[in-house]
């Protein structure tokens, strides 16, 4: 057993930490977040230049073949800075789906551009009635003479507001609730029949809703064999969930550090409020939850790339449950221990709190994962 980073991983972390510190001050972030595209193209270009965007992409396509642990390193630092760039959705989830399902030609066409920062992807897996479960997808793609015709609605596509291509999950067979019959299509958001409505999210990054009305797609828009995307999607969502845990841990670390500093400096009743035992114990509870969440995030990173198995599913679900419960707990406690100041827009803690609570709304909150784990219980 060895839970330390390799020298390369340590260098990646140091480099990113410095970059985030220098370029992601509170003011800059606030400005960026206020208007479309909702992230910093300058910062995104720096991530490309330093090779960070290439980390999760396969070496054969201009990437660095980073593992779940490299994703952990990157996402933790982006989480500390509350960075708004669509790294998880585009590089990890989007890139992972292309790698897993794409033909050689599709990989060649997309992955090198993704690694270089010339292409941004987004993944449209949610709909008005899916509630975190892709098997309830209703959007349909019909076979037509020389391709597919796509119709339906896609909800809260994170990063979709500025994606060059959106990976749209659609049903080519079967009924909502079935895992079979799902397919992934590469859709150009500028194509005819696509309406895109962009907006900021409460979590921080921007997103969009998509209305698809008879969108005509060529044959090569389909990733993988028709009707059989579910397995690969489920596996890639597992990788994304592991990465999201790391993002949350970075943000939780920051929220805990800010709160601890505040307890040591804020004076009331003639002494720092951190001298009061009731607040000390609450701070200890926060760091305890962070400790457990960190442990589960490491576990998730280490199993993220493993082949699908019941054990991997249980570990990833448990990681999501523990991390998301911790995230909301830490967000609420951090605000409470700060008092009124914790509720102000102009203090970064408030934005960590928003992010920590709202990240439960991507890939499912702690209750959703509790239910999922309970369903798998008998097997254990």
């Amino acid at each position: 057993m060895d839970f330390s980073f390799s020298d390369e991983q340590q260098m990646l972390q140091d480099m990113l930490a410095r970059l985030v510190r220098e370029h992601y001050g509170f003011e800059q972030r606030d400005q960026v977040q206020r208007s479309a595209p909702g992230f910093s193209e300058t910062f995104q270009a720096q991530l490309a230049e330093l090779g960070v965007l290439a980390v999760p992409i396969d070496e054969a396509y201009g990437g660095m073949s980073g593992s779940g642990v490299e994703n952990l390193v990157v996402m933790q630092e982006l989480g500390r800075g509350l960075c708004l760039e669509p790294y998880l959705e585009s590089q990890i989830l989007g890139g992972g789906l292309v790698q897993a399902l794409g033909s050689e030609a599709q990989r060649e066409a997309l992955l090198p551009a993704l690694a270089a920062g010339e292409l941004r992807l987004a993944v449209a897996s949610e709909e008005p009635r899916t509630h975190y479960r892709p098997e309830w997808t209703e959007t349909r793609a019909e076979r037509v003479a020389d391709g597919w015709r796509l119709s339906g609605r896609k909800s809260v596509v994170i990063g979709g507001q500025a994606a060059h291509k959106v990976l749209v999950l659609a049903r080519t067979a079967g009924e909502p609730g079935e895992c079979d019959g799902l397919s992934l299509f590469l859709v150009d958001p500028a194509a005819e029949g696509v309406q895109r409505r962009a907006y900021p999210t409460m979590a921080g990054p921007w997103a969009c809703d998509l209305t698809l009305e008879g969108v005509m797609l060529a044959d090569d828009a389909l990733l993988g064999a028709a009707g059989s995307a579910f397995e690969a999607l489920d596996h890639q969502l597992g990788r994304a969930m592991a990465a999201q845990c790391a993002e949350a841990v970075g943000s939780m670390q920051q929220a805990c550090e800010l709160t601890l500093d505040y307890l040591k400096t804020r004076q009331q009743f003639g002494k720092p409020i951190g001298r009061f035992q009731v607040l000390q114990h609450r701070m200890v509870d926060m760091t305890t939850e962070l400790e457990l969440a960190t442990s589960m995030t490491i576990l998730a990173a280490c199993v993220a790339d493993a082949p699908a198995s019941l054990e991997r599913s249980r570990q990833l679900i448990a990681a999501q449950h523990v991390v998301k419960r911790a995230a909301q707990f830490i967000a609420e406690e951090a605000i409470q221990l700060h008092g009124g100041i914790g509720m102000t827009w102009e203090y970064s803690l408030a934005h960590h709190a928003r992010h920590l609570v709202m990240l439960g709304h991507r890939f499912g909150d702690d209750d959703r994962h509790l239910k999922a784990y309970a369903d798998l219980l008998e097997a254990s």
Partner: protein, 398 residues
Amino acid sequence: MNIHFSEQELAFRDEVRAFLAAELPADIAAKVRLGKKLTKQDHQRWQAILHRRGWYAANWPVEHGGTGWSVVEKHLFEEECAAAGAPRLISFGVNMVAPVIIKFGTPEQKAHYLPRILDGSDWWCQGYSEPGAGSDLAAVKTRAVREGDHYIVNGQKTWTTLGQHANWIFCLVRTDPEAKPQAGISFLLIDMESPGISVRPIITLDGAHEVNEVFFDNVRVPVANLVGEENDGWTCAKYLLTHERTGQAGIGISKAALAHLKEVARQEVIDGRPALEDPLLRQRIAEVEMRLMAVEMSTLRILARAQAGGVPGAESSILKITGSEIRQAISDLARRVLGPHALPFLAEEMQLEHDSEPLHADYSVAPAAQYLNLRKLSIYGGSNEIQKNILAKAQLGL
């Protein structure tokens, strides 16, 4: 980053497994699994088996008869023992007073006491808490006054676990009442057969006789029984407490308890179906299982750090808090899953290997008592609130 045990460690685990399969008496394992009370003889039988294999004193250095195991090997050993249903070792001798004697004792003390612990000649109990000194341990008042070659000891100890079985007690006694609380304490080894000692049972809320009061009335203790310097007993006390805290997460015990809970939940019936299919119970089991997974991963991280030469610090307090909460949560579910069958209170059945005539099932006898008994987990060994004080100070600098 590598979350797996090494080949060598896995081979060690297999060796432990094979030993347990061959040597652990089935009647003892059954009692442990069902949460029944073990007798003194049960404990002694298991200790003797471990001693024969050279595995009783896992934490001692090799030169004194220990195993020389790494922290990971110790963890694997404990986990396998728990999974097999081996009794948890009574730690007062082998894992509490022995490390203090090894660290602070004279050559004569080591030569005399350590072999007697190993071969089971002595059963030790702990004389720390007093009616006026619980979490505030430095407030101990039991007085030891030097008179020639002896100390004359007067006072009272309490919560003395299994003191009724013990022939020796290690005590914190006050030798200098004028000094600051921590400065006037000494660490004294006392023969329980000395004139002037009396032991009175305390029956706890589960109806069990596990703890005792021990009274000292002009008890004469040879000065040779002092460990470390006079008035420097607090150093021994602190050293011992750090030993007491490690391993308190009880990961292996919780895993075994959870497996047993699921087994019972397959047999119990709720709404005409196996209880394990009840959605709410499943979720509650799922919740505790996921948290246990997180505490296990945290334990492994701390072990890996210790293996690499780091000194375990305040983070072991996190394991104590979360590990005890999980064990209590499992014991809560183990009681609930029985429904009305948790109600019968059959004190005598709890001692038996097999029920004479089970009312409901063999597994339904102990869980309510065990739930009540395990309230102790968050109180002893430094209450969970004391652990939080330690973390606030040592880890957070508050």
